[in-house]
């Protein structure tokens, strides 16, 4: 197929993302005949933008049917895309079977020896160099009943997917295994990863969708979701750090209910009956044992961290409006430069992605119209042949047939070219998703910094209060019992807070380090990916243009007798 050397893995579904689209062809035979370039519903994502910040929706993404690539001439692509199905046989008898329909190359860029790491499943280029692999596929959506939580008997149905993994990573016990997961589990996985891997460029999970349950059941929606999940898991599997995470392993391997905690919030904790709000930054009353300084290494979330959120918010406002310089600033100028550059890049990339979409549409239209033109001439040819009285008519019919078949050929070539173009330019919109992941990682950093700043402020605050109390107490000889006690309490709080601050600083530094490493990794991958994209795009354009040229050249030669004498 795409020249991937993956011995022992004949199943197409295991190819990397560039082969991913091809794999869709083989996986989804039911897409084969329903997918039409013209079909608008296959273009639009059924997924609405539930979480815009999480996922970049792009019309270029998954849903173009590539089934036509492997359609052979028994299904005249002309007829399937344009007007109502005419009898294909009568026309196909006039058209020679396309000799290239079974051509071994679908794309001209058979060059996959290097890179194209991107976000595919495979991180290796050649089997010998790095023999670690982790391949994931998502298949077999099934409806299931939620027996536990349904208030209405038989009311709550959901879809599960079969997640199959092939790997030789040591932390997995086994080389091949499957589990069933539902979308909610994926959300949990994604949230857990966000918590554990702050500062990393974590691929974004597919959108949650806010649609009616009726739509949820529809095959198209389920199929799109399946594709999205597969893409997501493969991206995770391709990330050098995340692929080794415990969260991912548990998700992929542990049977039964997913044993990862969802993001906690006050409501569910109350339900659990165990409301242990760690007293982060309570300020006043202190129970030292209950405060785990390491909790600051987690971002403030939901109900239990309300107080912390308020404090950090106050701090950020103070940072922005206070005029006073916050105790620690983002000093890394290099970082700030890179951030700005990323923003510019994102803007331009978004623009290119849009234009790429127009280009794809224009190519598609061209192919369609050529096909329709060819078909019209086929009909004309047939007509003239049937009605021919004069030899001139027969000659004309023969000329017309020539043009007709060539137009049909050219139409097919355009469609193939377009499928390849989408495959390559898809990289553009993929990177828009990557940029979102990068922004998330930068947010992690900002949040961590804010935590540090908040704690430092808090420390300063505590310190000044202690000083004031000490000053007041010293004026009273023998001390003021209550004041002294107060001072002790505050000192204890301060000690705890100081420890927390140290944790926060460590966390911040850690995240900074992650950012930096990830940026390096991204730069390298981006370089490879984009060059791969450009080359692939160019090679395909050239290759298909050459094919088209030869088709038309032969027609031009055969009709050269008619050439205008005085041109």
């Amino acid at each position: 197929m795409m020249g991937f050397e993956n011995q022992g893995f004949e199943e197409a579904q295991l190819h990397a993302s560039h082969g991913e689209m091809e794999s869709l062809v083989l996986d989804d035979d039911d897409n084969n005949n329903s997918g039409n370039d013209n079909n608008p519903s296959s273009r639009s994502n059924g997924i609405t933008n539930g979480d815009v910040s999480q996922h970049y929706n792009h019309p270029l993404s998954s849903s173009l049917p590539f089934a036509e690539i492997l359609t052979t001439d028994d299904d005249d692509p002309l007829l399937s895309s344009s007007s109502p199905h005419q009898n294909p046989n009568s026309f196909n008898s006039l058209l020679e079977p396309p000799s290239y329909a079974d051509a071994s190359f679908r794309s001209f860029d058979g060059d996959h020896g290097k890179q194209i790491n991107g976000h595919g499943a495979v991180s290796t280029s050649s089997p010998t160099a790095d023999s670690v692999y982790l391949k994931v596929s998502v298949t077999d959506p099934q409806k299931e009943q939620d027996l536990n939580n349904s208030l209405v008997p038989g009311g709550n149905t959901f879809v599960t997917y079969l997640i199959t993994t092939w790997t030789n990573l040591p932390e997995f016990n086994g080389t091949e295994f499957s589990v069933r997961r539902r979308f909610r589990d994926v959300v949990t996985l994604s949230d857990r990863l966000s918590d554990s891997y702050r500062g990393y460029f974590i691929p974004l999970r597919p959108d949650k969708s806010v649609v009616e349950s009726q739509v949820m059941q529809k095959q198209e929606f389920v199929e799109q979701r399946r594709m999205g999940l597969e893409k997501y898991l493969r991206k995770l599997a391709a990330h050098p750090v995340i692929r080794r995470s415990e969260e991912l392993r548990v998700f992929l391997q542990v049977q039964g209910k997913l044993p990862l905690m969802k993001t906690t919030d006050v409501a569910s904790r109350m339900l659990d009956g165990a409301v242990k709000l760690p007293k982060q930054l309570f300020g006043e009353s202190v129970v030292s044992a209950a405060v785990d300084p390491n909790d600051v290494s987690h971002p403030a979330k939901g109900g239990r961290d309300l107080l912390r959120i308020f404090k950090e918010l106050r701090q950020s406002v103070a940072n922005d409006w206070g005029g006073a310089k916050p105790p620690v600033v983002e000093e890394d100028k290099e970082f700030l430069d890179k951030k700005k550059k990323m923003q510019d890049f994102e803007q331009e990339l978004s623009n290119v992605s849009q234009q790429a979409e127009s280009l794809v549409k224009a190519q598609q239209d061209m192919g369609e119209t050529l096909g329709q033109l060819g078909l019209a001439f086929v009909k004309l040819t047939k007509f003239e042949m049937e009605e021919a009285i004069f030899n001139s008519q027969k000659v004309r019919a023969a000329d017309m047939k020539n043009v007709a078949t060539s137009a049909v050929k050219a139409s097919r070539l355009y469609r193939e070219l377009n499928a390849q173009t989408v495959r390559h330019l898809d990289k553009l919109h993929e990177y828009l998703g990557v940029i979102l992941a990068v922004n998330n990682a930068y947010s992690d950093r900002s949040n961590a910094l804010l935590t540090v700043q908040t704690l430092l402020s808090e420390l300063a605050n505590l310190n000044s209060r202690i000083e004031k109390l000490e000053a007041a107490a010293s004026k009273i000889f023998g001390g003021d019992r209550s004041r002294v006690r107060k001072i002790e309490e505050l000192k204890e709080t301060m000690r705890v807070t100081d420890e927390a601050k140290n944790c926060a600083v460590r966390e911040y530094e850690r995240i900074k380090e992650n950012n930096m490493n990830e940026l390096e990794r991204l730069d390298k991958e981006r370089h490879d990916d984009f060059f791969g994209m450009l080359k692939g795009f160019v090679v395909n354009q050239a290759g298909y243009a050459e094919k088209m040229a030869s088709v038309w050249e032969s027609v031009a030669n055969e009709t050269s007798g008619y050439a205008a004498k005085n041109s």
Binding site: N351, T369, L380, L534, K535, F537, V538
Partner: protein, 399 residues
């Protein structure tokens, strides 16, 4: 501008008409916008070069407008029954106001083709109306135009309906008249059916050809936009990758121009000939012979009746008999004339059909050739442009 001579020789300087083969060269050139607003129209220069004795002088330049061409066509329709009169470009009411350069040029070409086809037709070229058209001054022309009334003003589509008996069939029955006499020549029927169906097929092909022109323009535009955007991305990126983006963007823009050019070529040399084919078929549909046939039949009826009358008169020895005989002989002569006329039309039409099929094979062959040539040229240009970029990309990717 096509200047075809009568014998394909292309001889110039007709100083001695008797020694040189006869020629009649016409060209329609120099469109000029005249008038303002609703009254605006385009005028064309019609240049005639000839050595034919019927023409005054060897060269003449006149100014004509679209309605003059229509007048000529209508006159020829009337005078030369049975002959397929060359078609005119459509009278457009909308685009007239916009008068785009493209529209004007396409119209000029079509008008040029129209006159030349007449000049090359062995019958039509002898037309007196043609001579008027090519030589008369503007006032004479205007007078001639305004003298036209009645059926000359009708559109070919109207003529078609009347003469092919499509519409009148219905109205006659409604009005209680007897079923009108119609030709039931199977060959002719077959031909009529062929023409009608041919028009439908051609119209569809032409429609898609026009769309194809549009697609080329759209693809060109999107390549230009894409190129621009990717160049911006390149300048933002910098380094080798940035250069790669910029180079790709530049190539895209170059190809955009080529696509626009090809769109134009397609329009002129493929779509327009197809449109011309459609028009020709429509013109054929308007070629009438049903009227002549009907006349012949009616006269035959009348003659029969007259003969019966005459015989009656012979028996009773009426004094009107001589007059009646006289009338009878006249009627018979008319009858013969009508028959002759009809048979001429049939003969002409059959010749025209042969010519038409031949001509169309040539015209279409040329159109197909231009189409294929243009597409090949475009495809090669695209392939070249991208191929030359590849080594650059390769070297940049490792730098």
């Amino acid at each position: 501008m096509q200047q075809r001579s009568l014998n394909g020789g292309g001889l110039q300087s007709p100083r001695s008409p008797s020694s040189q083969p006869p020629f009649l060269l016409v060209s329609v050139t120099d469109p000029a916008k005249m008038g303002n607003g609703v009254q605006a129209y385009i005028s064309y220069k019609v240049i005639t070069k000839t050595n034919l004795p019927e023409y005054q002088g060897s060269e003449k330049i006149v100014i004509r407008r679209y309605t003059d061409f229509v007048w000529l066509r209508d006159r020829l329709f009337e005078k030369y029954k049975g002959i397929f009169i060359p078609p005119l470009p459509e009278k457009s009411t909308v685009e007239k106001f916009r008068f785009s350069a493209e529209f004007i040029e396409m119209r000029r070409q079509a008008l040029d083709t129209f006159v030349n086809r007449i000049a090359l037709h062995h019958e039509l070229q002898q037309s007196e109306d043609l001579r008027t058209f090519l030589q008369a001054d503007e006032q004479t022309m205007e007078r001639a135009r305004s003298q036209d009334t009645g059926i000359f003003k009708k559109k070919p589509s109207d003529l078609m309906q009347i003469f092919w008996g499509v519409q009148s069939k219905v109205t006659d029955v409604v009005l209680g008249k007897e079923k009108p006499v119609e030709e039931s020549n199977p060959e002719y029927e077959k031909f009529k059916k062929y023409i009608f169906e041919l028009e439908d097929h051609l119209a569809e092909a032409q429609k898609h050809a026009y769309r194809l022109v549009k697609r080329h323009r759209e693809l060109g535009q999107s390549l230009a936009d894409f190129g621009k955007a990717i160049k911006l991305l390149g300048s933002c990126e910098g380094d080798a990758l940035g250069t790669a983006f910029s180079e790709l963007g530049a190539k895209s823009e170059i190809l955009s121009i080529k696509l626009q050019r090809e769109a134009q070529n397609l329009l002129m040399n493929f779509e327009e000939p197809l449109k011309d084919y459609v028009r020709a078929v429509q013109s054929i549909k308007a070629t009438e012979r049903a009227n002549a046939f009907r006349q012949q039949c009616e006269l035959a009826e009348t003659i029969k009746l007259k003969e019966i009358d005459l015989n009656k008169m012979r028996i009773i020895r009426s004094e009107k008999m001589l007059d009646a005989e006289h009338e009878y002989e006249e009627l018979k002569a008319d009858g013969q004339e009508a028959t002759r006329r009809f048979e001429t039309i049939v003969r002409l039409m059959n010749e025209e059909i042969v010519r038409f099929q031949d001509q169309k094979t040539q015209d279409m062959g040329r159109a197909f050739h231009e189409f294929a040539k243009g597409q090949a040229r475009l495809a090669n240009a695209i392939a070249d442009a991208w191929r030359t970029l590849l080594p650059k990309l390769d070297s940049l990717s490792v730098s």
